[in-house]
């Protein structure tokens, strides 16, 4: 499974064929979460707490149950009891127990014959609340006297004496930063904050579930990982996992937010009660109020630098707020913070803090973008004050192969230096800046992930192949899978069809997350294709009456080699396929494993920004993404990941934020007030694909989906700070903040 040094010529990989699901998606034929129906189907709504924190005194369902068209009402009592660990957290989040823990926390659900009937009945459900004190700010939640979200939620990692809302702690590093600071010519220490932002996928969560009295069920849903949905639903409904078959629909964006389970067990519980299929589609406001935003953060970063640009020491404290449950990605924030740099003295601490907000969910490289914002801002300020070039300083301190990482291990082959060099050579970096504009640079890092993976490749009798993978296609991955299979088998791209298999068809597949799909399902596809090739060669060998070892596979044909070379004509895959029924039966290749070796990835972004000093509005005038892809299978979709991450980063840096009022209610639960970038907000986004092969993949692939969102917050903040002449330390840099900063700076 290691990088194949010999494989340096590709026929299919690196080209840009049309995606196999393209026609379905441009004609409206593709079926997403909300597009399924079933005979006798009911429509469901979820009733949610209007309070940030309240004891649920009583739920009276009688009037709602008697309402026109209502077939079932469920509350917490309709789910499994006695759960613990993360299953308990998920259940508590998707249906409140004794207390509502945030504005939008589910308390009951109704299924009726139409969605209007369900909505009408929702108004008749009576819930009595006793309102409790709440806290939504990360720093306030850690202070003495802050309301406790859940007593005893902290694990053993938290130092004694901290507030019970601090539930986990990460501490790592090496050397002694104080020694490093003593060697520095300049030390800067600053505080930075970022607000919670939502993944903002355009498709709300949606599912259609059937659960019969015999405990057997079918579920259709938009998810990044249907095996996980199967596992969680089975636990929360107390049924056997294999009795529930889950099919992943086309998915309308996820970015991490659809790795979590929010509605599927509710639809199944309603179905079990009503004995009819139930469709549940989240309204957009519910998506904002009750599905995972990313963590908000408060961070202190201190870095020392010599006049020549050498970083002598670095330390950081990263406080991440993850809502009313443990899980804010503070360890990733801490570990990613200084990853781009080779440091003798470094120390990072992370805290996971609970508040009365929705349970955070993964959002594209969870935790890393915020850390980069804090660290790369301080580095930019050091460069400015010491009069140093921002790329040269980063090159001087860059992590390389063999460098001891800030969190412990030594780096394998990595491509940070190559991205910096490519950025330096890019015309953008040396282009003159308009009067009043600013330029920002930032590096970013993400681990990438591999995970449990199973695929199957079945040969059809006409010589085309059917590839089944278990990782939902969130951005064109079926095209890459077809390409890798075609490459290995030596057949045309069009002869491979890739399907996302349901949970009854393949072994367990981990979620499409951690930028793992092209890496892990790709590696599995290559291995399954090689397994198939072995079987194909064996069939040819048997026919020719020679040793299977003496058969080679080239350009889609079995070819006699060694002593038998030239003895027989090449036997094409179509011929072997046609005869396979007579030569030993079906030919199927497969692969099941948890690969190791998802290579980490680094990026460098360059941004130009203009700030309107009258209104405080920022315009991004030019944007360049340089990122290491290891090997780009389908370059268009790699570019697409780069551009999409940059655009989300622009929104996060400039506009997007969860706004809470004093009452703890979310003020902007809609796309009008939670403003994601629109077409007229953005420039074209230039991309440079750097390819430093990942030693852990046959073609050198590294995940690309997440790293693209790591540098933007910092790069944009640096550009805006340089344009405005004041250091921006709080995100988002909305116009009012920029005006305040300009006023304070002048």
């Amino acid at each position: 499974m290691a990088f194949d040094q010999e494989k340096d010529e590709f026929k299919v990989v690196g080209t840009r064929p049309d995606r196999p699901d393209g026609i379905d998606k441009v004609t409206g034929r593709a079926r997403f979460g909300a597009d399924a129906t079933a005979p006798g189907m009911l429509h469901a709504v979820i009733i949610r707490s209007p309070h940030a924190h309240a004891r649920i005194v009583k739920i009276d369902t009688s009037k709602a149950e008697a309402a026109h068209g209502v077939k079932a009402v469920v509350t917490r009592a309709d789910f499994a009891e006695g759960l613990d660990g993360e299953n308990w957290n998920i259940l508590e989040n998707l249906m409140a127990g004794e207390r509502a823990l945030y504005d939008g926390h589910a308390v009951a659900a109704i299924a009726a014959t139409s969605s209007l009937a369900a909505r009408d009945a929702a108004r008749m459900l009576e819930v009595e609340y006793e309102v409790l004190p709440h806290v939504t700010d990360v720093d306030k939640a850690m202070q003495e006297g802050a309301p406790v979200i859940r007593e005893g939620a902290a694990d053993g990692s938290v130092p004694a004496g901290m507030h019970p809302n601090v539930v986990r702690c990460h501490d790592s590093g090496h050397g002694d930063p104080e020694d490093g600071f003593a060697e520095a010519d300049l030390v800067i220490e600053e505080r930075f904050t970022t607000e919670a932002t939502h993944q903002g996928y355009i498709e709300p969560h949606a599912c259609l579930g059937t659960l019969g009295p015999d405990g057997r069920g079918e579920l259709w849903c938009c998810t990044q990982g249907h095996w996980n949905v199967q596992k969680v639903c089975a636990a929360l409904l107390d049924i056997e996992t294999s009795k529930l078959r889950v099919t992943a629909s086309e998915i309308g964006g996820g970015f991490g937010g659809k790795t979590a389970v929010f509605i599927e067990p509710v639809a199944l519980a309603l179905s079990r009660k009503a004995n009819r299929p139930v469709k549940l589609v989240m309204p957009r406001a519910d998506v904002f109020r009750a599905t995972g935003p990313t963590a908000s953060t408060s961070m202190d970063v201190k870095i020392g630098m010599k006049k020549d640009g050498t970083i002598t020491g670095a330390s950081g404290e990263f406080r991440c707020q993850g809502g009313a449950f443990p899980g804010a990605p503070m360890e990733f924030t801490a570990m990613c913070a200084f990853a781009p740099y080779a440091l003798k003295h470094v120390h990072q601490v992370g805290y996971d803090v609970m508040t009365n907000r929705p349970k955070q969910a993964a959002y594209r490289a969870p935790g890393s973008p915020m850390a980069a914002f804090a660290v790369e801002s301080v580095i930019d300020e050091l460069c400015n004050r010491l009069g140093l070039d921002p790329i040269d300083v980063r090159l001087k301190n860059a992590s390389r192969e063999g460098t001891k990482a800030n969190f412990g291990p030594s780096w394998d082959r990595i491509g940070l230096v190559e991205t910096l060099e490519a950025a330096k050579e890019h015309p953008h970096f040396s282009a003159p800046l308009a009067e009043g504009a600013g330029r920002g640079i930032s590096c970013g890092f993400w681990f990438n992930h591999a995970g449990e993976t199973a695929v199957q490749l079945a040969l059809s009798e006409d010589g085309t192949v059917q590839l089944s993978v278990g990782t939902p296609d969130i951005g064109g991955s079926r095209a890459s899978m077809c390409m890798m299979a075609a490459e290995e088998l030596g057949i045309p791209y069009e002869d491979v069809r890739t399907t996302i298999a349901d949970t009854a068809t393949l072994g367990y597949n981990e979620i499409s997350h951690g930028s793992r799909v092209t890496y892990a399902s790709g590696l599995a596809t290559i291995e399954a294709a090689r397994d198939t090739v072995k079987k194909l060669c064996k069939r040819a060998a048997a026919k020719w009456g020679i040793d299977a070892e003496a058969v080679e596979w080239r350009d889609g044909c079995a070819i006699p080699s060694g002593p038998n070379a030239g003895d027989f004509d090449p036997m094409p895959i179509k011929e072997i396929a046609r005869d396979m029924g007579k030569t030993g039966g079906p030919i199927v290749g497969h692969f099941e494993a948890t690969p190791e070796g998802a290579g980490v990835s680094f990026a460098t972004h360059i941004v130009d920004a203009e700030v309107d000093r009258e209104t405080g509005a920022t315009t991004i005038t030019r944007y360049t993404v340089v990122q290491d892809a290891g090997k780009a299978i389908h370059p268009s979709y790699v570019e697409g990941q780069y551009q999409g991450g940059a655009a989300q980063g622009i929104g996060w840096a400039l506009n997007e934020e969860y706004v809470y009022d004093d009452d703890g209610r979310l003020q902007n639960a809609g796309f009008l007030d939670y403003r994601i970038p629109v077409a007229s907000d953005l420039p074209m986004i230039d991309t440079v694909i750097v390819e430093v092969p990942n030693p852990g993949h046959p073609y050198g692939v590294r995940g690309v989906g997440e790293t693209s969102i790591c540098p933007p917050l910092a790069a944009i903040a640096n550009a805006v700070s340089n344009a405005a002449g004041v250091r921006m330390q709080d995100l988002p840099m909305r116009p009012s903040r920029i005006l305040e900063a300009l006023k304070a700076g002048s």
Binding site: D21, G253, R284, G640, Q643, G670, I676, A679, S680
Partner: protein, 157 residues
Amino acid sequence: MIHVSTTVNGDAHEFLCDPRETLLDALRDRLELTGAKEGCGTGDCGACTVLLDGRPVCSCLVLAAEAKGREVGTVEGIADGEDLHPLQRKFIEHAALQCGICTPGILVAAKALLERNPDPNETEVRYWLAGNLCRCTGYDKIIRAVLDAAGEMREAT
């Protein structure tokens, strides 16, 4: 229930609907035309964009009853049988979609643009599509696909 007769993609349709029902719901649930998507239900995302007498509208903000006697155009009606519209071909060729949930609304809106302005510049395309959110692509490839399709359509006429 209200009785509605309307034309969708050139075909005559009749349905009964609740007075509160949106055109989007009627298209999706009653006519099984699920190409138009609901991203927000409040007119903010454009995923539900359809043409009403040739004008792009958010079908989540139009009542189903308002379709009476009018012509509705959805993404399902853009292609001419098996022949894709140049916009559809260019969207695939330029990889202008990742997840594809925004694509139906954007195609309908872009087609309306090119009917009004066959030679738009980048800024005009960006402002015309400003009501259609895409979270995946950063719009770069969408804008290029629209400009390329416009060029091809101009050459063909």
